[in-house]
């Protein structure tokens, strides 16, 4: 496995050269970050060139980096992560792309590269509010009809913003602001010391 990782690293670096913004190899997984420019061509060559041959898009997901700044992302908030799989070379690859604008995150659509990006992008649009330019059918996918907001963003409360109940006088279901407080019994804690094995 380490052999193939080395080979994969080499072929990626020699083909993309400067196009790779950051390269990371950790626990047998390779993560590369691309710039938004030419991203479609880069991913197409990952799909079509025989040394990569990533014919399958395993997963596409949005990430909101608001509360977690890493070196790779250059203070940008929204990111799309592609998990690619090559059946012929038996390799995996993780590709990250960051949006330049935090207020209105825009990404190019990958539906023409991998057809199953369609629903994944709809999901990312629904949950994170990422806009995929030229997507054929960018509707909400998982949330309710008429839902407002993007629930997986870090500034969206876990218990949501509205609650529903049946109103006997109006004789229909109505939406109201949530009446309960968020309950969090275990605080989120980052320990620099004492992390496993520390």
């Amino acid at each position: 496995m380490t052999q193939s990782i080395k080979k994969q690293t080499q072929s990626l670096k020699s083909f993309f050269k400067k196009k790779i913004l950051s390269f990371d190899e950790d626990k047998g997984e390779i993560t590369i970050t691309f710039d938004q420019k030419n991203i479609i061509e880069s991913l197409k060559s990952l799909r079509d060139r025989s040394e990569f041959d990533f014919k399958q898009l395993i997963d596409l997901c949005g990430v909101d980096y608001q509360d977690f700044k890493t070196a790779a992302q250059d203070e940008k908030r929204f990111c799309v992560v592609y998990h690619l799989l090559s059946l012929r070379n038996n390799q995996r690859l993780r590709v990250k792309v960051f949006a330049d604008d935090d207020e209105f995150p825009i990404f190019p659509t990958m539906t023409e590269v991998w057809p199953n990006a369609d629903w994944y992008e709809r999901e990312a649009f629904d949950l994170f509010g990422l806009m995929f330019i030229d997507h054929p059918d960018l509707r909400r996918l998982l949330t309710d009809y008429g839902f407002v907001g993007h629930p997986f963003r870090k500034d969206f409360p876990m218990i949501g913003k509205v609650e529903v109940r049946y109103d006997p006088t109006l004789k229909r279901v109505i939406y109201e602001p949530v009446s309960i407080d968020e309950r969090n019994n275990v605080p989120r804690l980052i320990r620099d010391e004492g992390i496993h094995r520390g």
């Binding site: 950790d26 395993i58 997901c61 990430v63 977690f68 038996n90 876990m158 275990v186 989120r188 496993h196």
Partner: protein, 422 residues
């Protein structure tokens, strides 16, 4: 001269579900029909969306394990498996070999559980009632295995980061005499429950191939079954890869891809089994693939039983920064007490980083992607559900088919909304 006036027929829209017995849960389809021929299918999903990924961001790593059971609620332990494997990868901890074998054993039990439900439901949708009843008879025995090992018949929470919660029990729960059943009836029921759990599973593994033969006599050469499945929902291999299909959906199209063989995890590399593949890529081939997978799973189960009988040992890592100490240690040793307390209040921390780990789930590749910022909770958890791209491909698979074929295609995709909606 006679003039025929043909009325212009336009497509009409039809609603299917969300509460339809053939929809396998809460699937709403908006169908565009031309007569009885489907032109377009627009699935509306999300009726079972519980935001598992968001919930996991607000809970410690251990607290999220039971949520995983509820994703694909017909193959519970496999979901846990992918999740704990990702955590183990991030922490770089080793799982004891016995725990790995137990995981493989229960993965394969789960695969049979899942395929039995799929078989019963699929056959029921297409019109064969009997298979459903047979399949549920066998599922009952497998649920008893779940119960014996974890105390829960479905939502086990048995796999833990670092191993499994406890070793296989040396006795099986027994039926108790009641007013309804005489003691001789009870004795008959308890006949294969007198030994350990492994004896019970072995007894099941011996009986199971004949059961599969029974299902096959009901379906494989059945004319009606063939009329409803042969040539329906054909996906060619390249297209199946491009559409993100995995598992039996991909293998049914003739692509030889199985993570257990290609990227072996746990002890799969030491076990002897084969990957069945289809040829035509239609519903019938996928049916044959799954039937054969059940037989292969049964073989793996037998090998695991033989190994587990001979090799006792620990079933969970002794790294007490991640796994709880034993009860007796916890009561006597101060340090163990502290470990126990810290683990179940604050939970363990995972160093900064990210990882993706996947298992060969009965439905395809089930993976979890965790980003950790060094806290006791994941920063982001993404669940890669195998059913999601399959359902997304339904428009392409059903185009030009009749409405009744749609039901067969939903059946062959083995859709479960717990995982698709998450």
């Amino acid at each position: 001269m006679r003039v025929f006036i043909v009325a212009e027929i336009k497509n009409y829209t039809m609603n299917f579900g969300p509460q339809h017995p053939a929809a396998h849960g809460v699937l709403r389809l908006v169908l565009e029909m031309d007569g009885e021929v489907i032109q377009r299918v627009d699935p509306h999903i999300g009726l079972l969306h519980r935001a598992t990924e968001k919930l996991a961001e607000n809970r410690t790593y251990l607290q999220s394990v039971p949520y995983m059971d509820r994703l694909d609620y017909v193959s519970m332990m496999m979901n846990e498996h992918a999740y704990v494997m990702t955590i183990e990868k991030l922490l770089q901890i080793k799982v004891p070999i016995r725990a790995q074998y137990i995981r493989v054993l229960f993965d394969e039990i789960t695969r049979i559980l899942n395929h039995l439900l799929w078989l019963g439901a699929h056959a029921l949708d297409v019109g064969a009632m009997t298979v459903f009843l047979y399949a549920f008879r066998e599922r009952e025995d497998l649920f008893d295995c779940y119960e014996a090992v974890s105390g829960a018949r479905m939502h086990a929470a048995y796999y833990r980061p670092g191993g499994v919660y406890r070793d296989l029990p040396s006795s099986m729960p027994q039926f108790q005499p009641s007013k309804k059943q005489s003691s001789s009836e009870i004795n008959k029921l308890n006949k294969n429950r007198t030994g350990s759990l492994l004896d019970f599973i072995e007894d099941f593994a011996k009986r199971f191939p004949t059961y599969v033969d029974e299902y096959e006599t009901l379906l494989t050469d059945n004319r009606i079954w063939k009329q409803r499945t042969v040539g329906i929902g054909v996906v060619d291999p390249d297209r199946a890869v491009a559409l993100g299909m995995t598992g039996p959906m991909l293998r049914g199209s003739g692509v030889e891809w199985d993570l257990r063989k290609k990227q072996p995890y746990e002890t799969y590399s030491e076990l002897d089994f084969k990957i069945p593949i289809g040829k035509e890529g239609d519903c019938y081939d996928r049916y044959l693939v799954r039937m054969e997978e059940m037989r292969e799973s049964n073989k793996i189960i037998k090998q695991c039983i033989d190994w587990l009988r001979e090799n006792p040992g620990p079933v969970i890592s002794n790294d007490n920064k991640v796994t709880p100490p034993s009860r007796s240690e916890m009561k006597e040793d101060m340090e163990s007490m502290i470990h126990h307390f810290k683990l179940f209040t604050e939970g363990f921390h995972i160093p900064k980083g990210e990882a993706y780990a996947a298992v060969e789930h009965p439905k395809g590749e089930f993976g979890t992607y965790i980003i950790s910022d060094g806290a006791n909770k994941p920063y982001r958890l993404k669940i890669r559900a195998p059913g999601f791209p399959h359902l997304a491909a339904i428009n392409e698979m059903t185009k030009g088919h009749m409405l009744s074929d749609l039901v067969a295609i939903i059946g062959t995709q083995d859709i479960v909304f717990g995982e698709i909606d998450r």
